[in-house]
């Protein structure tokens, strides 16, 4: 595996870096405070061709994960919006019919439509179910914890239709679909999370995505590709945290020396950098496999397993290095400079979650062995 980026990817990378510096750095703290969906940024991301890289020619997942990592260094919430949107675009691009692609792919790339995945199942009788008759699908029930909920123009929603768990493209304006109030999330604020309720939502059966036979593998691939994206955001957060913590350690003087000269601090910084670097390599590898059309479910599960163990630890340790200043949400008057670690600590919790207590990425890895 080559880890150098080709010329085209380098160009995308430079553009993502410039975007993050110009548009994300200045607003990240305010976005976290307000939690308001940053609509203007989505248009700008689209203008710079960064919004749905998995479906862009000469780009793909390698470019997508590199971009997510770069965006996340400055503002993980925006990277999370992009990942959820891009995965919806990817699903339609890869498994959609020609007419579905015609209706949505270009619009998703250009930011005229915003996409979301509605996969997380409500328990018991609230689960989303559908029936098909006379060429119409009727959907009723709920999807929980949908990211980009309420702001998306279309949802790739999973519903139990007959005996299969099938994907349906549901435009947000379809009568009967409603997004609940956004949850007060711990982190990634600005990327709204809410439940979506379907009350007798009726669509033509042409809105079904993929065949019933294909659907289980579509879901597995979609979740795995989404996890690779979340991993890239986690790695981006880790890189930002490492840089900030190292800088803090160089400037904080205790016992007559910068604390960066202490082995206990060097140990923490080195582990942060090591875990982040190894995760980034694993993610880059998984993205390459997706672009090559090779199996990647195990590699994606490895990212989820690795970051499940080390993801939050990166920020636990980064804050430990900075000490009291690390837990400040806003810089006190006697401090000059930015204090992003408290925000990143909350953000990284949002990218390393399991789907449910029974979610066990290690099962796929063990099975492959």
């Amino acid at each position: 595996m080559s880890i150098s980026l080709d010329e085209n990817l380098q160009r995308i990378q430079l553009s993502a870096e410039a975007f993050a510096e110009e548009f994300l750095e200045p607003i990240a703290a305010d976005l976290d405070r307000s939690g308001n969906f940053p609509r203007a940024l989505i248009a700008e991301l689209a203008r710079q061709q960064l919004l749905a890289l998995p479906v862009v020619k000469h780009a793909g997942f390698t470019a997508h994960v590199a971009t997510l990592q770069t965006l996340a260094k400055s503002c993980p919430a925006v990277a999370a919006i992009v990942n959820n949107h891009a995965l919806a675009a990817h699903a339609i691009f890869k498994w959609g019919s020609d007419s579905q692609k015609f209706a949505h792919v270009a619009a998703l790339v250009q930011g005229e439509q915003l996409g979301a995945l509605a996969i997380h199942e409500a328990t018991g009788a609230n689960a989303l179910t559908g029936t098909i008759s006379n060429g119409k699908i009727t959907l009723a029930g709920k999807k929980r914890f949908v990211r980009n909920a309420g702001v998306a123009d279309l949802y790739v929603a999973y519903a139990t239709i007959g005996t299969s768990f099938s994907a349906v493209i549901v435009p947000a304006k379809t009568p009967g679909l409603s997004a609940g109030t956004a949850y007060p999330t711990m982190g990634l604020r600005g990327c709204p999370v809410a439940d979506i309720t379907f009350t007798n939502v009726v669509l033509e059966d042409s809105f079904l995505l993929g065949s019933a036979a294909e659907n289980p593998s579509i879901l597995a691939e979609l979740l795995a590709a989404h996890a690779a994206g979340e991993g890239a955001i986690t790695a981006g957060i880790g890189k930002a945290a490492a840089k900030h913590a190292a800088n803090a350690a160089r400037h904080r003087v205790q016992f007559g020396h910068p604390i960066a000269s202490l082995q206990a601090i060097q140990q923490l910084l080195a582990e942060i950098a090591t875990d982040t670097h190894l995760a980034a390599l694993g993610i880059r590898h998984a993205a390459q496999l997706i672009d090559d059309g090779a199996p990647f479910l195990v590699e994606s599960a490895m990212i989820k397993s690795f970051l499940g163990r080390f993801g939050q630890k990166i920020l636990i340790d980064a804050i430990q290095v900075e000490g009291g200043m690390g837990i400040c949400e806003t810089a006190p008057p006697h401090f000059e400079g930015a204090l992003p670690l408290a925000r990143l600590f909350r953000d990284i919790a949002g990218t390393t979650l399991l789907d449910s207590p029974a979610d066990f990425p290690e099962a796929a890895i063990a099975a492959a062995l």
């Binding site: 711990m186 205790q254 939050q312 430990q320 009291g324 837990i327 949400e329 399991l354 207590p357 066990f360």
Partner: protein
């Protein structure tokens, strides 16, 4: 087997009831706003719980160290932000208990028995882990002392009635030139700066203090001039297990919330997969081990044995356990945890690895003790068999 006495069980149950009624229902609201939970001082006043460490001869409850730990664990279970107010107030009075005269004890304890609290002001911008790096000075005058300087990260600083202030009386002598003083709120020249906007323990009051020509009588000096560092270190030895107790309660809460979520998510399925079962078991093991390290430390203290190393172990282990357990619980609870109170537990735990001496400083204390012991070699003959 119940290892605590009937009386301790009653006190524990009373604390549990107080927490269920007053703390748990309000925790989320105060965490969100970050405003100080002033109602708590009124609610706790009749029980004199803020005076639970005050000797009976001064009108206090005189709970034993272990009994205090039981109460603090319950408070930590409810909300570590609110519990920190209690723990930090007790921390401040430990200094007086160690070095105060009877008159000083009366001066300091009386407010604590009447719905008011204390604060311990040691840390400065230049003196965090490096306690000796402080720049606040106390100059001896004919009338007493004049204090100038600033203090930061002072828990209860904006609310407290009585303070322990550390200042240099002999700056050339370094740590041996530090002295401890009692100061009351309202002393001219003393002012409270901005409140910190924190990741966790959000409703606990944490402020910057300014001391500008603060004049206090000579009778405010605790112990002798130059005793400050010794008093500070002994106070922290006594007080750190309180943070351990809060952390045990916090971790127990995270496990309980996680288990409740598992039952809710998989109704009618008492035993989920082994991967999940083992994670829950590991959480349980860690919490119980942290609780026992704490209780052992309190038993040493009650028996009059040295406990400095165990004190550092207790704070470090319990807060690291709280961090691990809350992180695992939140991850397992997924989006449901991330959008609910479980997120608060994790934010609170992070602060606890830092305050009252970072866990790195505790490790230095423990490592020094380990390396100072005489070399131990295994008996060769026994091994040869």
């Amino acid at each position: 087997m119940n290892l605590i006495t009937v009386e301790q069980t009653e006190i524990q149950q009373a604390a549990k009831a107080f927490v269920a009624q007053n703390i748990i229902p309000k925790a989320a609201e105060y965490d969100k706003s970050g405003a100080f939970h002033a109602f708590l001082l009124e609610a706790a006043k009749p029980s004199k719980i803020f005076g639970m460490a005050v000797p009976k001869s001064f009108g206090g409850l005189e709970y034993s160290p272990l009994t205090q730990a039981l109460v603090l664990e319950e408070w930590g279970y409810g909300c570590c932000g609110m519990a920190t107010t209690l723990a930090a107030s007790i921390l401040s009075m430990e200094s007086v208990m160690l070095a105060g005269t009877d008159a000083q004890k009366k001066q300091f304890y009386t407010p604590l028995l009447n719905g008011k609290i204390g604060a311990f002001a040691l840390t400065e911008p230049s003196a965090g882990s490096d306690v000796g790096g402080g720049k606040t000075t106390a100059v001896k005058t004919a009338a007493g002392y004049t204090i100038n300087g600033s203090k930061c990260w002072i828990t209860n600083g904006g609310i407290a009635q009585v303070f322990i202030i550390f200042a240099q009386t002999d700056p050339k002598a370094g740590v041996k030139g530090i002295s401890a003083f009692i100061m009351e709120r309202g002393t001219p020249g003393f002012s409270v700066g901005d409140e910190e906007d924190k990741l966790g323990l959000r409703s606990s009051n944490t402020v910057f203090l300014r001391l500008e020509d603060v004049k206090i009588p000579a009778s405010s000096l605790l112990g002798k001039a130059g005793d400050g560092m010794k008093i500070a270190m002994q106070t922290l030895d006594l007080a750190r297990p309180a943070i351990g107790a809060l952390a045990v309660g916090l971790a127990q809460r995270a496990l309980d919330d996680c288990v409740a979520h598992v039952h809710e998510r998989f109704p009618g399925k008492p035993f989920p997969g082994q991967a999940l079962q083992f994670k829950l078991a590991d959480m349980r093991i860690q919490i119980e081990a942290a609780r026992q390290v704490l209780h052992h430390m309190m038993a040493l203290r009650e028996a009059g044995k040295p406990f400095s190393e165990e004190s550092a172990m207790s704070k470090t282990f319990a807060t690291d356990v709280a961090m691990n357990v809350t992180t695992t619980a939140l991850r397992l609870m997924g989006s449901a945890g991330y959008t609910s109170g479980a997120a608060k537990l994790m934010r609170d735990a992070k602060v606890m690895q830092i305050y009252e001496g970072t866990n790195q400083i505790q490790r230095l204390v423990i490592a020094r003790a380990v390396l100072a012991r005489p070399k131990v070699t295994a008996p060769e003959k026994a091994l040869a068999k």
